[in-house]
Amino acid sequence: MWLLPFLIVATTVALSVPVGRYLARIMDGRYTPPALLRWIERRLDTGPQNWKQYALSLLLFNTLMFVFGYLILALQPVLPLNQKDSAFADGKGMLSPTTIFNTVTSFLTNTNLQHYSGEQHLSYFSQLVFVVWNMFTSAAVGFCALTAIIRGLRGDPHMGNYYLDMWRVVVYVFIPFSVLTGVLLMAAGVPMTLEPSAEVPTVQVGGMGTNEDGSPKPQVIARGPVAAVLPIKHLGTNGGGFFGANSAHPFENPTSWSNFLECVTILIFPFSLIVMFGRMIKNEQHAAIIYAVMMSLFVVMIVWAVSQDALKPNPAFTAQPAQRIVVPGAPEKVVAPLAGLPVDSTGLGNTEGKELRFGPSAGATFSAVTTAVTCGSVNCMHDSLNPLAGITPMVGMMLNCVFGGKGVGLVNMLIYLVIGVFLAGLMVGRTPEYLGKKIEAREMKLAMLALLIHPILILGPTGLFAALDWGKAATNNPGPHGFSEILYEFTSSSANNGSGFEGLGDTHGFNDATKNLTTPAPYATHWDLATGLVMILGRFIPIIAPLALAGSLAAKKRVPFTAGTLRTDTITFGFVLLGTVLLVGSLLFLPALALGPVAEHLGPIPFGG
């Protein structure tokens, strides 16, 4: 039960040290590539940039990503590699315009919230060009932003060059790791083909039903160039599945070893970036403290999820006591007691929405892994996690700094760190400093902006949608669990995670609604637009504000290190940081969690009916 999470974490920690050092070497330009690549670097390098120029380049390139992505998806019906099969006789059509907007913003912000289903709605061309390209570049964007911020914090005269940084991350980091991972995944059984879906006559004749003329229907097995998407989906903490079921689908995740590999590839860069940070600021002890704080939060998340989900049966099947329900203004209701169903869950825990081949604790572990680092890939349906286990993924996304996404997670932690330094400074009555630079009003304003945008973007829209039919008509589960679905969707959007309590009705599908396998959800457009906007704001404000903060710190004079300086490389400081994260996080989000998963756990189960 505990061996799998332990193996995943231990392997990644061991790998993170050499990988982190390699990353620092690349980002500091100490690696000399072959002549051709050097020539390309010279073409890309537009010269040293200050924080404003760096931010401008970043925003310009993201605008280009939006235009490019929108064009690819909108032109899907006429572009090549649009395979036809009996489920989609004319190939894949054009998605509805709002779904394209949502999908494009979702992929360029590294969120990969999917209001579509990969195998139903995207052609192989869209998967290979739109999805894969965005996965490489959007992951690199966060990576570059972090690097620039680190350069500012250590007081470099300029923040580097954005275009050069992007190239280095994509080609020297992501590509080699992706090829290696891709080969391992294919060895485990992940398809890599351009052939259309396989159509097989089922072994039990008529198992899939019969056609009008009485002939048995075949099973149509969607496949495709999956192995090209999967490595970067995880290495870039993107999380957008080739198939609707994401990494729960046997073609995305065929064995328990592929599942292990996917967990490690999700975690490797977020772990390594802390090591890189320590190398780049030449203060590895400070980085180790941050690493330890993040790790302790992460271990708690995993232990909580596994103990609530893999060690307990699904409460839907267990005996439930009688409950008297008193709501002011409504007649009192008595819920009759229920006997436990004769179901044997020993050793398996809650298996609704889980795959067996990964082992019993794999679903809960993956849910913690994928939300801690804002990947958003799933190997079980989070909607069907036991009520209290559902807290783990939500907390991971709400704190958004337990390692966090590629680059941006550490940036979030640095914001908490600045706030922690500020609070500690106030308590001992000294001017707060960080890495030898004074933290003053301007820095605090920027830090608060970056910190508060996240809860505002989550709680505001959640309240709005929960109050209106937009949310109520979209939920797939009753009562508090329905609320959790809405809360999860906006948390996932704002944290740029992309996983979901996927029962939520937010899919429109093809613009031509008659081509869809299922009828479009009634408020799909509202969800497309609202989450699209949340993703954009939740992405760029927490990148630009810390860039400005770092730029402002870089311009300051270094104050000498004295006996009165608050040290940031001690265990005491680790506790200050941990306390800040927990205090701020729980003040912001506990009420919402109480209304969702906690209320669901307290019952009644089942709710209504």
Binding site: L60, V200, V203, F243, L338
Partner: protein, 354 residues
């Protein structure tokens, strides 16, 4: 600005070439050469061998099996449609989840062999289904209270065979009944002043079942097959006392009735993976515990044994085969042994005789 334009365009062009052309081509080439079967979808032919040509299925994708001669895969929220993967996404507090599981359990569940409820006759033990039907008949208006207290089951009954907006036998039956009782439609409209259209069959299940219970106390509206004058098979709804849908719908109420506590403890527990849907809807495995349970192995052996006397031998042979095909995830490090259902069933068919 010219600098930015140059940087952006070169970066776009080069990353597209590297990420969308060179990288997939390299992976495709390696995959074709080293793993030709896996990269095309792990397809198998009817003998269970790897193939890239005409296939009977994929090792990695669950196929629907409902026949008694086959092991059954886990339930699928995607109806085993491998172009529309997905789970139920039902939370623990969703009444549909408990309803789905108890509907599946009701017609299937058995008493533990040798238990008090199963009775002394081991060859013909008493079944929970008989007890549920007797319990149902013992109180004339159980149907009415079920329809008014339970939300999922009665509505689903009305929607059996619902495709698009066309109702099947059950829905039409309610509609015909409603036409004969216009006062019911009037009452519904009075209760739902905001709705403009006529009530659907599932909206009327409460009064419908209440009226059915009054007309046929202790009976269930079952589907009865008959033949018309031309010899064609017809299906009608008739009051019956024994029916698998009766058992499915009333299992949970029977179980939770304190009067049946002594019987419910004698039920043979069902392995949880037999009644829970997987995340993808395509999980190709079941646990070994599930395969060897009375709910799978005994059923398959009974069907494949030529005479009742062969049963024990066939059961043993199949159990050996199942054990031989089982494996434990992570090279044996985690979880419990699993069996691939499609591979197992193909092998059973290939063996033919036991």
């Amino acid at each position: 600005m010219k600098n930015h334009l140059r940087g952006n365009l070169i970066l776009l062009l080069l990353t597209v070439v590297v990420c969308c052309v060179l990288y997939p081509v390299v992976l495709y080439g390696i995959g074709r050469v080293l793993f030709p079967t896996a990269t095309t979808g792990s397809l198998v032919d009817d003998k269970g061998n790897d193939t890239q040509g005409p296939a009977r299925g994929s090792r990695l994708i669950a196929q629907p099996f409902t026949g008694d001669e086959y092991f059954w895969p886990r339930p699928s929220a995607a109806s085993y449609n491998a172009t529309a993967s997905g789970g139920s996404n039902w939370g623990a507090n969703n009444p549909r989840l408990r309803d789905r599981v108890s509907q599946q359990l009701g017609p299937m569940v058995v008493y533990k062999t040798g238990s008090k409820s199963a009775g002394p006759d081991r060859a013909n033990p008493r079944t929970p289904q008989q007890d549920i039907e007797a319990w149902f008949a013992a109180m004339p208006d159980r149907l009415a209270s079920w329809a008014s207290d339970v939300s999922v089951g009665p509505q689903n009954w009305a929607k059996t065979d619902l495709t698009g907006d066309k109702y099947g036998l059950q829905g039409d039956f309610i509609q015909a009944w409603a036409k004969a009782h216009p006062e019911v439609i009037g009452a519904w409209k009075k209760d739902n002043p905001t709705k403009t259209d006529d009530p659907k069959p599932e909206d009327l299940v409460g009064p419908f079942f209440a009226s059915f219970a009054k007309a046929h106390p202790g009976k269930w509206p079952g589907v009865v097959e008959g033949k018309d004058a031309a010899g064609k098979v017809t299906k009608t709804i008739e009051p019956v006392t024994a029916d698998s849908l009766l058992v499915a719908n009333f299992f949970d109420l029977w179980l939770s009735d304190p009067a049946n506590a002594d019987k419910s403890v004698d039920l043979e527990p069902v392995p949880v993976d037999l009644v829970t849907a997987s995340g993808s809807g395509l999980d190709p495995h079941i646990t070994l515990r599930n395969a060897l349970s009375v709910y799978q192995l005994d059923r398959v052996a009974k069907k494949r044994a030529k005479t009742p006397a062969d049963f024990e031998g066939v059961k043993q042979a199949i159990a050996d085969l199942v054990r031989a095909k089982s494996f434990t995830p992570l090279s044996g490090l985690t979880g419990e042994p699993l069996v691939n259902v499609l591979e197992l069933n193909l092998e059973l068919d290939a063996k033919g005789n036991f």
